[in-house]
């Protein structure tokens, strides 16, 4: 299990190779990459700056991964979240989950990603044609995270 917060870009092939560690029990690798779009809430975005809460970020993401391990058969998991200034087309976040079976890999990967959107302490400030603005939390994201809690009840 690895959680990294970094300014540098990442390469998904290289990260998957490292995570697999040549473990022949892995049959399924689900991954998700979030990238910066040039449009948000109808306004064009020139760039954005990502801020986080050092310490709490790593702690909360590790907790999320532990929770995923409790719910699904997870061999290993990796989360990379970038901070600093990013432009459209830049990669923001990577989640990779390895498992024996695909259902577990998909579910755990989406679960971790939904919680990253709603619980991990990251904030985005966008530079748009109308000036700089902090991105508001989306109700749709809260609903996606809540879905998992309901299933767990």
């Amino acid at each position: 299990m690895a959680v990294r917060v970094q300014a540098e870009d990442f390469d998904v092939s290289a990260e998957i190779a490292t995570l697999r560690k040549d473990n022949p029990r892995i049959g399924a690798i689900a991954s998700f990459i979030g990238v910066v779009r040039d449009l948000n809430e109808g306004d064009s975005v020139a760039e954005m700056t990502l801020e986080h809460y050092p310490g709490m970020t790593e702690k909360s993401v590790e907790e999320i991964i532990m929770q995923a391990r409790g719910s699904w058969q997870v061999m290993d998991a990796l989360v990379i979240h970038r901070i600093g200034t990013l432009k459209p087309l830049d990669q923001i976040v990577l989640v990779v989950v390895t498992s024996a079976h695909r259902g577990d890999a998909f579910a755990a990967c989406e679960f971790i990603m939904d919680f990253l959107k709603t619980r991990a302490p990251f904030w985005k400030k966008e530079q748009t044609g109308k000036g700089a603005r902090w991105v508001d939390a989306r109700a749709a994201d809260d609903a996606a995270a809540e879905r998992w809690q309901k299933q767990g009840e």
Binding site: G34, L50, E51, H52, Y53, G55, M56, K59, S60, H81, I92, V93, M113, L116, K117, T118, R119, A120, P121, F122, W123, K124, K125, W134, V135, D136, A137, R138
Partner: protein, 84 residues
């Protein structure tokens, strides 16, 4: 003494990223800390009222109003998160 941290919009609104304050004897919960900060008026009163969308963490775990606060704690206030 407790450490207070502010992030994102709140950091900008308060004009500071952190401060260290002495806890008054009757401040024993997160709600007590919030009340004390809101009493400063201005941006503090505006941002830290019940109607505003803010979150708080105590020692790096999401906390609620009745979370106990003791000397040495790290208390953070921030807007709802928007990662990923």
């Amino acid at each position: 003494m407790i450490t207070l941290l502010y992030f994102a919009r709140l950091r900008e609104a308060f004009g500071m990223a952190s401060e260290r304050i002495v806890l008054s004897a009757d401040t024993r919960t997160l709600e007590g800390v919030r009340t004390m900060l809101a009493a400063r008026g201005g941006a503090w009163a505006h941002e830290l009222t019940a109607g505003r969308a803010f979150r708080a963490a105590v020692n790096q775990s999401i906390a609620s109003g009745d979370t106990p606060i003791k000397d040495g704690d790290e208390v953070a206030f921030f807007p709802p998160v928007t990662g990923g």
